[in-house]
């Protein structure tokens, strides 16, 4: 692995069939054309960028998580955590105001974790689980009461392991999440996007693919825009697409339609 990075690469080898298609004389003349090497400074700059990218990744520090680094996704974690905390506190305050017997049983986290309609029915041990030691900061009223920590973790990781612990939800609860939803990363993403800042692909430079539509769907949207004559919007969307999926082939009909139509 300690190869000199500037050692010239081996000439590409072609299969026999390929060589037959490109005669040797053409290959020789092609290679005889003068072609410079990348300047040393450029080599150094790129290698430095490559090292810096993994170095910052290897020692993630809190003070740089929100900084403007095109290589980092730390902002997502910070934004998600903040959003969940704000939501938790808001719900706590709402439940405190609305719960009729809140003065008698000051268990704010229980209120946050379980919907008001189910509080009376909740067994004491369940209520206790959410009292001391279970802060409301990371709780959502849409997360059922049985195992909030596990549920939240399942939502964060997108795994299904904790979802099976979810308790039944009463009919009174508006828009409850199902086990399937809790385990579904797409649902989780929607929950995050509800609370996190709007993603700005152009500003970030290195977008999170999970936060974007699939390339096919995105290209289809762009195609529709171009077909409807919204060329400027289509162009901008195509640029954003390129930024997000630099290696994804653009269909030729889109390449042709966009600048011409």
């Amino acid at each position: 692995m300690s190869q000199d990075p500037r050692k010239p690469s081996d000439p590409p080898t072609l299969s026999r069939a390929d060589q037959e298609e490109v005669p040797g004389e053409v290959q020789d003349a092609w290679r005889a054309m003068e072609a410079a090497e990348p300047p040393d400074l450029l080599d150094q700059r790129i290698l430095n960028r490559a090292r810096a990218a993994v170095n910052t990744e290897n020692d993630v520090q809190p003070e740089v998580m929100g900084s403007k680094r095109p290589w980092s996704f730390g902002w997502l974690h910070a934004a998600t955590t903040t959003a969940v905390m704000v939501l938790g506190v808001t719900l706590l305050l709402q439940v405190r105001d609305q719960a009729p017997g809140s003065g008698e049983r000051p268990t704010p986290s229980a209120g946050a974790a379980a919907p008001a309609a189910t509080q009376e029915a909740a067994p004491p041990d369940v209520a206790d689980r959410f009292s001391a030691g279970n802060t409301p900061d990371a709780r959502s009223s849409r997360i059922p009461s049985a195992a909030p920590e596990e549920t939240l973790e399942a939502l964060n990781s997108g795994t299904t392991s904790a979802a099976s612990d979810i308790a039944p939800i009463t009919a009174n609860e508006p828009n409850p999440i199902t086990e399937k939803e809790a385990a579904d990363p797409v649902f989780h993403r929607a929950l995050q996007l509800d609370q996190a800042p709007v993603y700005d692909a152009a500003a970030e430079g290195s977008p999170t693919p999970d936060a974007l539509p699939t390339p096919e769907a995105w290209l289809e949207d762009i195609r529709m825009q171009a077909a409807e004559g919204e060329l400027e919007a289509a162009r901008e969307a195509l640029e954003a697409f390129r930024a997000a999926w630099p290696d994804y082939p653009i269909p030729e009909n889109l390449l042709l339609a966009e600048p011409h139509s």
Binding site: Q3, W30, P38, R45, A50, W71, P246, E252, P259
Partner: protein, 178 residues
């Protein structure tokens, strides 16, 4: 997977091994640089595109899927940058003739064929090729890609890629005749 393979190195880099990137970089720096040189006359612009390409590789390291050969993946990024370069340079104009659509026999200008200097004649012929054909032969000879990969990289069918390569080869062979 061979641990020295391009794909293994890229995966290693994705996991934080900077040395793996350096090895990969050493393998492809010349080929990639020449690819941009063939397409962009301006050396400064070629440098920019070359750097952009590696930066995209760096940025996409965690997303790299080893099922895709690294070589083809790298040159797909390069090809896309090449297309974007034309688009951003003259966004309101059509793409250069042949960048996407030409599958026609190339007719070289007679004055080009009359140049007694064989090397100069060849170079002029390369520059006179439609972009798509030059792209195809550059991906073959500079990048070392096979037909299927050329098709994948340029987003066309294998037959189209084959035609482009055939026409380019025929035109270049023509200028090498004594």
């Amino acid at each position: 997977m061979d641990e020295d393979s391009d794909e293994a190195l890229m995966l290693a880099y994705g996991k934080g091994d900077a040395q793996a990137f350096e090895t990969l970089y050493g393998r492809y720096r010349t080929a990639l640089y020449r690819y941009f040189q063939r397409h962009v006359g301006d050396a400064v612009m070629a440098n920019d595109l070359y750097q952009d390409c590696w930066e995209k590789v760096i940025g996409a390291r965690a997303r790299y899927d080893a099922r895709a050969p690294f070589r083809a993946w790298l040159f797909r990024i390069a090809h896309n940058l090449h297309v974007d370069h034309y688009r951003s340079r003259k966004p309101t104009e059509p793409l250069p003739p042949g960048l996407t659509e030409t599958e026609e026999e190339t007719t070289l200008p007679p004055e080009l064929l009359a140049d007694p200097d064989r090397a100069r004649r060849f170079r002029a012929a390369v520059n006179a090729l439609p972009e798509a054909q030059r792209d195809a032969i550059s991906l073959r000879l500079d990048a070392g890609l096979g037909l299927e990969d050329i098709a994948r990289v340029t987003g066309v069918g294998p037959e189209t890629a084959k035609s482009r390569l055939r026409y380019a080869t025929r035109a270049l062979k023509q200028v090498l005749q004594p």
